[in-house]
Amino acid sequence: MKRPPIVEASAEMPTSTRRAVGKSAAHYTAARVGALPSVFDDPEAARTRAAEIKQGVLDHLPDLLEQLEAACIASGIRVHHAQDAAEARRLVIEICRAASPAGGVVAKAKSMATEEIGLNAALEEAGFEPVETDLGEFVVQIDHDHPSHIVAPIIHKTKEDVARSFAREGLGEYTEDPEALTKQARAHLRGKFRSAAIGVSGVNFAIAETGRLALVENEGNNRLSTTAPDVHIAVMGIEKILPTEEDLALFLPLLAASATGQSITTYVHFVSGPKRGDEPDGPREVHLVLLDNGRSKVLAGPYQRILLCIRCGACLNVCPVYRQVSGHAYGHVYPGPLGAVLVPAMEGVEQFGHLAKASSLCGACEEVCPVKIPIPEMLLRLRAESKGDSWAAFAAGATHPSLWRSGLRLLPMAPKVGPLKAWSEFREPPRREGREFRKWWHSRSPVTPARSVEREPSVEHAAPRESQQEGASDAEALWARFQAQLEKLQGRIASLKELERLAGPWWVDGDAAERCPWTSTTDDVWEANVGVSLAVCAIAETGSVVLESGPAKTRLGALAPPVHVILVPQAQIVATLAEGIARMSARTSVIATGPSRTADIGGHLIRGVHGPGEVIVVRI
């Protein structure tokens, strides 16, 4: 029997890879299960609400796209439309050529949309040097590999694999220590950030109302790629819109919890256009490429709801098939249950319909999906759409009871033919055990005609819990909560006095400098050991701070130095993420939560990968 492509593709997979994927996937699944109830009073209600909001987006997509485009233009973001991958590549390359005619480094933040359009190869061909700056994507790139997971690109690699790759590329002394390896990557990529003329990113959520692009990440490479270079190009699938900024208070924690079990990612970067005249740093041009590439077709068809997807990867992690075969076996950048629907829906069932068959239909994907996409139902519809074997003979048998009965009686005796043959390749064939039901039934004394059974009312499923009212509104209680959250992430609160012990040189933002005296400052933010910024406010529920751009406020000061000191005025503390989002001004801002982090290498949590490894908050 000819094996399905996914079986073929996974046949040569080493056991160590399968183990690595299974271990990480199980870890993320458990983290998600643990995080959701701690982030939401009622996770079910949160998922339902998220699905409704995204469905509303799909229902009004043309209008929202228009609104988004107008808002972007108003804030200085240049908007481009790409019908397909080729047009998107051409647009990006045109922008790059205009910005940097001589070629050079293009710093790339992790983005599935740019994977989808094959941007790296095109950039290379056009004479640029695309550099993946996410740790996992960087490993993928130097190994000439492909990501095998949409959130954790090197889920299929062990730390020993990474160690060999780094040594081969001359990044430093051979080591299998994830922390040392992370440092090597950090040092190597620093130079790339500084020399890149262009940064390319994806977009997690674009807000139609304000034209703001929300980018989420943990490492800090995304912010560096979109802050240090002169030009920022964001590539985004047209469905990744949310109507209002308020919606982010739901979607940011839902995405983070579903993806990695966090309550919010370390950084949520809010891009509101290019650097303004009074701002000291940031890109002078921001471009948004709106990518269709088959999405309009999917929107108009029976698989529309796959476009609700927020790319959290939870369905991959929980999927037993994905855990066995890893991402590459799917033969497309979107693997797992998400890919098994999206890819045939986008690219046609002729070529990719087979993916819908690579499922035991266990339903775990639908159960974990934060936007409740009915993936199994869509897999069934895809199977019905692709031409498969005819079951007419089976139907004929099943509509003739006597034929059926003799067929079933013969079945256990025929393990050498039909489906039982394929079955028996990996398992012992099933045997009949004990009595035959029908014989037993007929040997019983004649039964009384059926009477209907009195029905009890069926048990109602638990109604959504009322969300808890924010009890403590007084600032001290909020600060205590903030501190607890921050410390969980290994950040800390300190007094100004304690900071004197930190080794300089210091980079101090203008508005922070007014607050207190500093010594041994530097003019080169990349050389500083400590960066000091003044925050808009702190958010108690997540342990986050809100930082914005503005006169005398640098973006890089919060990113480049290994230690970041954040001054927060005593009274500027809010309880919830929603309140924090509401406090942001219209300028490019960031919600930063704890130190920069990664778990890309063998699942080990390392702090300070690209952004600061130490985060100190001072109440002033």
Binding site: P320, Q324, K357, A358, L361, T399, A422, W423, F437, S452
Partner: protein, 231 residues
């Protein structure tokens, strides 16, 4: 409704299901003309063939007598599958065995009249189609009331066993790989028997157990419940 797999291989499970329903006070009827719910062609993508079978089965079971199957998979087919396949048509009210006992009959403890303690320790595998039926831990809850029955915990309970109907044949190595991982966790629980509510899972796991010479038995939940009923 007897499932095809019970019909062909595991008559004892059907017998046990009848005994359990009778112990709960039901009069049980079996229609000799029953065949299949139509799930195999439905899952394989031949909806015309599936519709033919489904229409016949729906007609056969029409009326207000509830239909009970010792399988969440066949139940899900007759509930959710028929809704997709035969939209707008009337379909029988079908329940999975334990779902029927607990949610329809209001059974909260098993057996209904006290019997001797069982002294067994098992690992319970949740069949995946219970998800669509929102069964949650209904089986475990009922089993936990059986005197002397110990349910041993194991890792990654939410994971499928890898059966998946035709998938087990078409994607053999993947299906078997998933099953072996499941068995690894089940064996680590220390239980000597894996119990589940679906014959598909059990036949698949048993096939793997026998091929690899593992020390584990398989039993359907109906058999455990029947065993607990005093003779």
């Amino acid at each position: 409704m007897l499932t095809c797999l019970c019909d062909a291989f595991a008559g004892e499970v059907g017998i046990a299901a009848v005994r359990v329903l009778e112990a709960a006070g039901c009069d049980v009827e079996f229609l000799d003309a029953q065949t299949c719910c139509g799930q195999p062609p439905f899952n394989s993508g031949d909806w015309d063939a599936a519709r033919t079978v489904a229409r016949r089965t729906a007609a056969l079971f029409q009326g207000d007598v509830p239909v009970v199957a010792p399988s969440s998979s066949c139940t899900a087919m007759m509930r959710e599958g028929y809704a997709m396949l035969l939209p707008g048509e009337s379909t029988p009210s079908t329940f999975e065995l334990v779902e029927f006992l607990v949610r329809e009959l209001g059974v909260t403890a098993w057996p209904p009249s006290p019997g001797p303690a069982m002294e067994r320790s098992i690992a319970f595998h949740r069949a995946c189609h219970g998800r669509g039926l929102h069964l949650g831990d209904l089986h475990e809850q009922l089993l936990s009331t059986v005197p002397g029955l110990q349910m041993l915990p194991f890792a990654q309970v939410e994971q499928c066993c890898g059966f998946g109907g035709a998938f087990a044949a078409t994607h053999g190595p993947i299906s078997a790989g998933i099953g072996m991982e499941k068995l690894e966790h089940l064996l680590a629980s220390g239980a000597d028997t894996v119990v589940s509510g679906d014959m598909g899972c059990l036949l698949h796991l048993r096939g793997l157990i026998e091929r690899h010479g593992l020390a584990m038995r398989t039993q359907h939940v109906a058999q455990i419940l029947a065993e607990a009923v005093p003779q």
